[in-house]
């Protein structure tokens, strides 16, 4: 398996359960190290430049990565700070509201429904300025409306020159400069 | 009392009623406590063996009594809450806790203040002292649990269970420590061997006790009222949002 992604490319990993999608994505992030082969960024192997490389990545995996005790706003601001971004609260609020969480802004996320939690952690995508998104089954637990919004967001990101690597079990296509499907088989 | 409240178990009817009761209790408490202190500090004769120091007893003993009484009351309300699933009972239990802890603390402080001159030590691992200390721990546990759970509903029920278990434990603790203590050399000063009290002292203590009782009622009712309004607001917010 070998591929390379340029600006505006969206990699759509398919494959049955256990095919190795998550593993592959985590390897792309540098969270797991491949037994054989390697990942390179701008032509350099990422082993050498882990810190440098991770500056460009936004990874959303199976785990939520939000604190159940903090409110949606607090969680979001924190994860943005981790990306090195300072975002005005009122802007965070706008995005969350746009994502239909107006009611949930100030509740500890423990009280949110499955899908509402997912929306909170996806909200990051609307506020970041990185160049590579790695999304593992981002549509999980999202209702139809939310799914549509997310797809659209990914498109606009790719069209603006971003790179995306993602998985999903629901078939879909995006109109982006370069839409690449890869099917893994276990 | 409990019967009385149970009749008024719905916050709606309870709220105004409490409003009426509070001022009277508050006033009564102020007067009685003042009078009690007056007896204690001025009227009562200097104790021939303990000097002026003993006057602290007028605060200490009633405080100690209420520390224990209020815990049991709290457990009672907690139990009623679980049985009848009556919000108000939970609120009462929650409201009693701080006052109870306060009296416990007061008993401890006055006690050890008294202990310094009497026993030459701030603290002695004597049966009663210890069980009082443990009582404080039980109160603390109750607080901590409630603080830790932010879903009010669950916090109420969970801490209620704890309060009840603690209540079963109170007598055990008291006697266990009693028993444990007599195992070793007889404890330094046994409180039960307090000098047969002069009528006036007893009177003073009783006045103080009733004062404390009225005070407790007043503060507790106030807390419940606040709690009610607070929860009302919360639910309103939730609806509006």
């Amino acid at each position: 398996l070998d591929f390379s992604l340029n600006n505006g490319a969206v990699l759509y990993l398919q494959g049955e359960n256990g095919a190795g999608k998550t593993t592959l994505l985590r390897t792309l992030c540098g969270l797991t190290h491949p037994y054989a082969g390697g990942v390179s960024w701008c032509g350099e192997d990422i082993k050498g430049m882990a810190e440098e490389y991770s500056k460009n990545i936004l990874y959303i995996g199976h785990l939520p990565g939000i604190k159940e005790d903090l409110t949606a706003i607090e969680n979001l601001q924190f994860s943005l700070a981790l990306l090195g971004l300072k975002v005005e609260k009122q802007e965070v609020v706008e995005v969350l509201t746009a994502l239909g969480l107006a009611k949930a802004l100030h509740l500890p996320t423990r009280m949110l429904s499955q899908g509402q939690k997912r929306r909170v952690l996806l909200a990051r995508l609307w506020l970041q300025n990185l160049s590579l998104w790695i999304l593992d089954e981002p549509f999980t637990a999202l209702d139809v409306a939310a799914t549509a919004m997310l797809k659209q967001k990914i498109e606009s990101f790719a069209n603006a020159g971003g790179i995306v690597a993602m998985t999903s079990h629901q078939d879909f296509t995006l109109n982006v400069p370069h839409f690449m499907q890869i099917k893994l088989d276990a | 009392m409990s019967i009385n409240w149970y009749k008024y178990a719905s916050p709606k009817t309870f709220y105004p009623l409490a409003g009426k009761i509070i001022p009277w209790c508050a006033a009564g408490a102020a007067i009685l406590i003042a009078y009690g202190l007056y007896i204690g500090l001025l009227v009562a004769p200097t104790d021939f063996q303990q000097g002026e120091g003993y006057r602290i007893i007028f605060v200490h003993v009633p405080a100690a009594w209420f520390s224990m009484f209020l815990y049991l009351l709290m457990a009672l309300y907690a139990g009623m809450g679980l049985v009848f699933n009556a919000k108000l009972s939970y609120m009462m239990a929650t409201a009693i806790a701080p006052t109870g802890a306060m009296f416990t603390f007061l008993a401890l402080v006055t006690g050890s203040l008294w202990g310094k001159p009497m026993w030459g030590a701030w603290w002695v691992w004597d049966a009663r002292l210890t069980s009082e200390l443990i009582l404080l721990f039980l109160y603390i546990g109750y607080f901590s649990l409630q603080a830790a759970i932010d879903d009010k509903n669950r916090a109420d029920k969970a801490s209620a269970v704890l309060a009840i278990v603690g209540a079963i434990n109170v007598p055990i603790i008291y006697f266990s420590v009693e028993w444990w203590n007599t195992l070793h050399q007889g404890s330094s000063v046994s409180l039960t061997k307090a000098p047969a009290m002069a009528a006036i002292m007893l009177q003073g203590m009783l006045v103080m006790a009733i004062g404390f009782w009225l005070y407790s009622i007043a503060v507790i009712l106030m807390r419940v009222r606040n709690e009610i309004t607070e929860r009302e607001n919360k639910t309103l917010q939730f609806r509006q949002e």
Partner: protein, 235 residues
Amino acid sequence: MAEALLPASKQIGTLSVLYHILVRDIKVALRRQSDVTAVFFFFIIAASLFPLGSGSDPKLLNAMAPSVLWVTALLSCMLSLPRMFASDHADGTLEQILLSNQPAVLIVLMKILAHWLLSGLPLVFVAPLIGLQFNLTGDQLQVLALSLLLGTLALSLIGSIGAALTLGIRGTGVLIAILVLPLYIPVLVFGAGAVNAVSVGMSPNGALSLLGAVLAMALVFAPLASSAALKIALE
């Protein structure tokens, strides 16, 4: 790209990120006060258990005091160790933190600091009160407090290694204990040693300066070890 320059969002430096991490940890803890008060009360209660176990002979108590109080302090710090990383690990925040473009060592240091402020420091202030119950003298109390001030920070630092190593392993609480207790021994020996010294009328300075040395070493090595351990835990 379009997102590249969001109007309101501007890059922030390492320091400010670290600050965010510290503040958030404290915020989460304060959100459920229990966390903060708990270690504290555990110390008080546990320390009070020993007299219950051993009758009320004042001389015996005073002799037990230094070791009992120090061991209890040590255990209370240890009890709160799992909280240092575990929840961040479970809900994936840790992945996010390590993917953030900041040096892991500093991040870990922040989390250790937060842990100390929340669990170690408070003990320094209660310990003397408990000391009274074991009728310790004034000097003994002073040295106790001082030794704990240095000691607890060292405990948080050293403990972080255990916390990191046991990440994602269930029943952590006890496992951590086994890992860190041996490392804690020097701190205990010098800390309690200082108080004992006073009891027998000697100067505590020797023990205290050794304690300081341990602290210094911990400051240098612990964060390195922990951040390494964290990376391993996530693979």
